[in-house]
């Protein structure tokens, strides 16, 4: 059985200008693998991740035939059971890392609180484990960062703190929304290695949302390419550079390259047909 099965997922927002359809009927599955989701800004990547956790704020609406976690349809669960799913089985690192930390609580207290919620240990042990976790995500001075408030850490440090916290419950699925966009390449690789170990050793399923095509191509197993709320192409990650959809090609060609300087970068010319074509299935 797949870890996760998403069938015909829609996310809609009624606004004064009419209904915004952020996700339009996509289907995909997730196994014990690294599944990348790429696509341009506004294509529905984050809303897909949030919808799985039923974290779309009203008046936004989620509709789907099913969103099944090991066969259990999450849409049938009560809000209370859903909280347990969010706390223990599926974690999400939000795109806005510092925003998801409590601004008036010290970083260390937040990590320890999360750790104590999931582990029956004393405070001293929780503190020791928290320091180790910060160390594991390459935070250099974990003692100080434990005492810092969220606004006192850098952008990349905030991202790493969130990743450390989301891994505490040892989730079956981690949804990571642009988890490394503020990290320099060397720290980025360390963080990716941590997630990689969890997939390989503990059989976690990873949904890795990113706009960094090279990174996704190197790091993931499969990739869904989203456009205007639909999946336009699915491919093996290491074959991303041979993708055929003109949209995917356009994304690849718009990257600046150190070895090929040019005055202007290529930009996409969008074809209305792309958003009308039915969604491609993303089942493994």
């Amino acid at each position: 059985m797949n870890l996760l099965d998403v069938e015909n997922l829609w996310v809609k927002f009624p606004t004064r200008q009419g209904v915004v359809e952020a996700v339009r009927g996509i289907s995909f599955s997730l196994g014990r693998e690294r599944l990348g989701i790429v696509g341009e800004s506004g294509s529905g990547k984050s809303m897909t991740g949030r919808a799985i956790l039923r974290l779309i704020r009203p008046p936004g609406m989620i509709e789907a035939d099913r969103i099944a976690l090991e066969g259990q349809n999450l849409l049938d669960l009560s809000e209370k059971d859903m909280r347990t799913v969010r706390g223990e089985r599926i974690s999400m690192v939000m795109q806005d890392p510092k925003f998801s930390l409590n601004p008036v609580m010290r970083v260390g207290d937040q990590i320890m609180e999360a750790y104590l919620l999931h582990n029956k240990v004393g405070k001293a042990e929780a503190r020791k484990r928290s320091l180790e976790m910060l160390d594991a995500v390459s935070i250099r001075d974990p003692e100080r960062v434990m005492r810092a408030y969220p606004h006192e850490v850098s952008g990349g440090m905030g991202q790493r703190i969130m990743i450390a916290m989301m891994l505490i419950p040892n989730p079956q699925i981690l949804i990571a929304d642009e988890p490394t966009s503020a990290l320099d390449v060397s720290v980025q690789r360390q963080v990716l290695n941590i997630m990689d170990d969890l997939v390989k050793q503990r059989g976690m399923g990873l949904i890795f949302i990113s706009h960094d095509l090279n990174l996704v191509s190197e790091f993931c197993d499969r990739v869904l390419i989203m456009y205007a709320g639909r999946i336009v192409e699915v491919c093996d990650a290491d074959k991303l550079h041979q993708a055929t959809h003109p949209y995917t090609r356009g994304l690849l060609n718009s990257l600046p390259r150190l070895d090929q300087p040019r005055a202007k970068l290529e930009v996409l010319s969008r074809d209305p047909a792309w958003s009308e074509a039915p969604s491609v299935g993303g089942r493994a």
């Binding site: 927002f13 606004t15 004064r16 200008q17 915004v20 341009e40 800004s41 506004g42 294509s43 984050s46 704020r57 795109q95 806005d96 510092k98 925003f99 250099r140 005492r147 006192e152 850490v153 850098s154 952008g155 990349g156 440090m157 790493r160 642009e178 966009s181 503020a182 990290l183 320099d184 390449v185 060397s186 720290v187 980025q188 690789r189 990716l192 290695n193 990689d196 706009h211 960094d212 095509l213 990174l215 190197e218 790091f219 993931c220 990650a237 290491d238 356009g250 994304l251 718009s254 990257l255 600046p256 390259r257 150190l258 300087p261 005055a263 202007k264 970068l265 290529e266 930009v267 996409l268």
Partner: protein
């Protein structure tokens, strides 16, 4: 003459055991019309340099001259913000949650005393590739990339001469990144703007900047030109590691 001249800049936060010396002895200068990059480790002080310039990190020493004028302390006057604008790293924190896109831009234009606000708002939204249908949305109704474009439009509203750009495209997908970088390139050419730009993406820095400084643990370890970057010619060991990591294969091929 240089537009930004920084000499022996130290910036610190807090005191006692929690004192952080975020920037130590940084020196560089950026010529008028030049685009200068800051790269380096996460937490190395890149954002802090930009924040010190705009007065958001009030504890600093050393010399910071903007267009020949020495800055002091953490207060910046209106004339300063007319000349210098910043685009923040975090598009979520930098927009007021209860202000619509229209309010954000109209108020900024009003503040700068710019006439014909309605038409300017429309052209600013056009410039950053957001159509009119986004004009009356609130930040929570926008994706990460769309918010960053609003932040860039706001920075451009007062027609500044210097833009401080903190990871301006790290929240953007590559196609919007290309549009924004092209826009920044055009603006610089048309208006002779000066850029000081932070990014961890070396190809982006290579594309946008003439020279760059590499930072590690609060210090500038090397200033190099883009030719050296492209040729992967670095003096300092850390820079060599950084360059190597940016082309090294990931876990996939390991």
């Amino acid at each position: 003459m240089s537009m930004i001249e920084i000499e022996g800049l130290n910036v610190w936060f807090g005191h006692g055991p929690d004192r952080v010396d975020a920037v130590r002895g940084a020196s560089f200068s950026v010529a008028r019309g030049e685009s200068f990059g800051l790269v380096g480790e996460s937490g190395s002080g890149k954002s802090t340099i930009l924040r010190a310039i705009t007065g958001l990190a009030p504890d600093w020493s050393g010399r910071v001259d903007i267009d020949g004028q020495a800055l002091a302390g953490g207060k910046r006057d209106r004339a300063f913000f007319r000349k210098v604008q910043m685009v923040f790293q975090d598009p979520y924190a930098s927009l007021h949650p209860r202000h619509s896109v229209d309010q954000v831009l109209s108020e900024t234009l009003h503040l700068h005393g710019i006439p014909d606000i309605d038409a300017r708002v429309r052209s600013l939204l056009d410039d950053v590739g957001l159509g009119g249908r986004f004009r009356f949305r609130y930040p929570h109704q926008l994706s990460g990339g769309q918010r960053q474009r609003v932040a860039i439009a706001r920075a451009l509203a007062g027609e500044p001469e210097i833009l401080l750009l903190d990871e301006p495209t790290s929240a953007l997908d590559v196609s919007v990144q290309a549009e924004i970088l092209n826009l920044l390139t055009d603006l610089r050419a048309e208006h002779g703007l000066t850029y000081l730009m932070v990014s961890h993406d070396l190809p982006v820095i290579g594309h946008m900047c003439d020279r760059l400084a590499v930072m590690k643990s609060g210090e500038i370890v090397e200033v190099m030109d883009v030719g050296a970057l492209r040729a992967m010619r670095a003096e300092h060991e850390y820079t060599r590691d950084l360059l190597a990591a940016s082309v090294a294969p990931g876990p996939h091929s390991a």
